[in-house]
């Protein structure tokens, strides 16, 4: 009887010495699995459906992007081919001359998305607020 009681006594509590280790392991698991990845990108607000407006010709600059990623800027007959990295300066100049300028990005239907985004990026860098996206040709 006495011996049995003696045996029982040491198992009275749950050992908590390894609790920090267990919690640490859980912590490490969540640390590893957590991906605090924020989505990043270029924001844009599309015009509402059926909200097409007539704009004066002199307030529009067309930016053409062809299927191979070549870019041309200008309005009417005054069209110039520019490098994408020079576009920002070109856009800034035109904005300085006329701050109501609308930039209409016109792409080919086979234009690569990256080329289009490069152009949008340049427009954003030049702080162009009024951007229009024209229907692709062809």
């Amino acid at each position: 009887m006495l011996t049995a009681r003696n045996r029982k006594r040491p198992g009275g509590e749950i050992p908590t010495a390894s609790l920090p280790d267990i919690v640490f392991m859980l912590l490490v698991f969540f640390l590893v699995t957590t991906t605090i990845d924020v989505d990043k990108g270029l924001g844009l607000v599309l015009p509402a459906e059926g909200n097409e407006q007539e704009v004066s010709k002199k307030n529009i600059t067309n930016i053409f992007v062809n299927a191979s990623g070549k870019v041309a800027i200008g309005s009417g007959d005054d069209l110039r081919i520019v490098e994408i990295r020079d576009l920002r300066q070109e856009v800034s100049n035109r904005l300085l001359a006329n701050d109501k300028m609308i930039f209409s990005v016109r792409t080919d239907s086979r234009t690569k998305y990256q080329a289009y985004l490069d152009v949008m990026d340049q427009l954003k860098m030049a702080n162009a607020k009024r951007i229009s996206i024209a229907e692709p040709e062809g």
């Binding site: 920090p20 957590t34 989505d39 990043k40 270029l42 599309l46 998305y113 996206i133």
Partner: protein, 135 residues
């Protein structure tokens, strides 16, 4: 002599509250962790410089578009003309919704303008072109 006695009492950092601290950290990470809901499609995002963060994930609808022209929303592959219905429902439930276009850098503009048109029809006008930071 007195000074020596005083210094003796300070011995070791108390570790009694260590589990509590770790528990707090654990709970923080458990709350922050979002086990990925949607897999998306396999694609390479384009690069851009002037990009901004998209606030939160609550008001974001992801539209995936690969270079082959496959469109997927919420892991459901769909035709172009279905996009407007799906996005319209999303827009109705959450007027603040931002459509995050995750398109492959090799995708053709025909696809992207198609998505534009669908989004306009669904009245989901806020768009974000998902991109990676260019170095």
């Amino acid at each position: 002599m007195r000074l020596k006695q005083k210094t003796k009492t300070v011995s070791g950092i108390p570790t009694a509250s260590l589990p509590d601290i770790i528990f707090m950290l654990l709970i923080f990470f458990m709350v922050v962790t979002v086990l990925r809901q949607y897999q998306g499609l396999k694609l390479i995002l384009p690069e851009a410089r002037k990009i901004s963060k998209l606030e939160g994930k609550r008001h974001v609808a992801n539209i995936w578009a690969t270079k082959e022209g496959v469109i997927s929303i919420d892991d459901r592959i769909m035709e172009m003309n279905q996009v407007r219905n799906v996005m319209y429902d999303k827009r109705k439930n959450d007027p603040q919704i931002v459509a995050s276009v995750k398109a492959d850098r090799q995708a053709e503009m025909k696809l992207i303008t198609g998505i534009h048109q669908e989004l306009r029809k669904a009245d989901a006008l806020k768009v974000n072109y998902s991109a990676k930071t260019r170095n």
